[in-house]
């Protein structure tokens, strides 16, 4: 007697499509939740270091680098950036009159502050007047509460800039000035390719009371 024909031949194929409705439900919940938590404006912090008497960076002594002999840590740069309505003044060594230690940056042709010129002036001061590091020193970084080894320069305040402005200068202008004082961009040849790198200028900012220096001539 022959076997009964297999039902597989006649049985219709079951619907093998995956049920994606639960996954869709999950996504419908997840997407609005992530959209609500998404950051469309990115916030960041601009650090300000107050004057030393209120707990600034403490110098723990300097270790001379090889070949350097000049370790006079008494010299001060006294870098001052003065923001006026007519432009920006940059002074070093407490100079108050036009000369090699006093720079005037008038407003640009569009009537706005020339932040690039300020950045270039500070770069000139850092490279030509402050010069290369002469050793290493340990400083206490308040933001991280740790001791770090940093470069030591011939001037004890070689990383500090004092920013002052007229009383009615807006905070946005001060922030732009702080931005210009922190770093500068330069090109560096790495493995035969030119890359843009950022180098430190004067990252420690101190606000001080406005001092009237020579007015900018327009």
């Amino acid at each position: 007697m022959a076997f009964k024909p297999s039902l597989k031949r006649t049985q219709p194929l079951a619907d093998t499509r995956m049920n994606i409705t639960p996954i869709m439900n999950l996504m419908v919940v997840l997407i609005p939740m992530l959209l609500a938590g998404a950051k469309f404006t990115e916030l960041a912090l601009l650090e300000y270091l107050p004057p030393a008497e209120t707990g600034g960076a403490a110098d723990l002594g300097v270790t001379p680098s090889e070949g350097s002999t000049d370790m006079s840590q008494e010299k001060e740069l006294n870098l001052l950036v003065n923001i006026l309505h007519t432009g920006v003044q940059v002074s070093i060594f407490q100079s108050t009159e036009p000369g090699p230690n006093f720079f005037e940056i008038p407003l640009g042709p569009d009537g706005n502050y020339d932040w690039k010129a300020l950045n270039d002036t500070l770069r000139y001061i850092k490279e030509s007047i402050v010069g290369a590091p002469i050793g290493k020193k340990r400083v206490f970084v308040e933001s991280d509460s740790t001791w770090q080894e940093v470069d030591a320069y011939q001037y004890v305040d070689a990383s500090e800039v004092s920013i002052t402005a007229l009383g009615d200068i807006r905070f946005q202008t001060i922030v732009r000035a702080m931005d210009s004082c922190q770093k500068y961009r330069t090109h560096k040849l790495v493995n035969g390719q030119t890359r843009i790198i950022e180098k430190e200028l004067f990252p420690l900012t101190v606000f001080s009371q406005f001092q009237e220096l020579t007015f900018i001539k327009r």
Partner: protein, 168 residues
Amino acid sequence: MAFAPTKGKKNLKKEKGEVSLTSMMDMMTIILLFLLKTFSTSGALLQPSPFVDLPSAKRSREPEKNLAILVNPDLGVLQGDEDFSTPRPEDVLSSLAELNDQSNIILPGLEQHLVEKRETAKKMPTGFNGKILIQCDSSVTYDWLFKIVSTCGRAEYSTLDFVVLKKP
């Protein structure tokens, strides 16, 4: 009178109308992956206040949670630790009169608040770290800013972090 339907139409099997969810799934998967990639916990740490129009800066570091104050040009210095939709009188630490007073560079209301917070923090196991977050409106003037910074320094807050919008 309408014609009777043809035999073909009469016996036509109506197909079950189903929406194809496959393309929608593809789209949602891409959106989900994009949102998961851009999701950051630091955004939850720091929320911009609706009372402050923050300035923008190019060079800045990642936000962290600390004692916070707000500076608004129309309201003065406000506490920034609690979220509020309408500022109450007790949220104002230093009024406009205090800020515009030319005879003093220290703000008494702000100083009192900071000293209280400092003493409370000293009693906590984490201790006092001397850090403060300042959400300052971009239109606030330098003379106000100098008073706020001087007051923070007097109250032993040595690290001041200004909240800014990061420029690309």
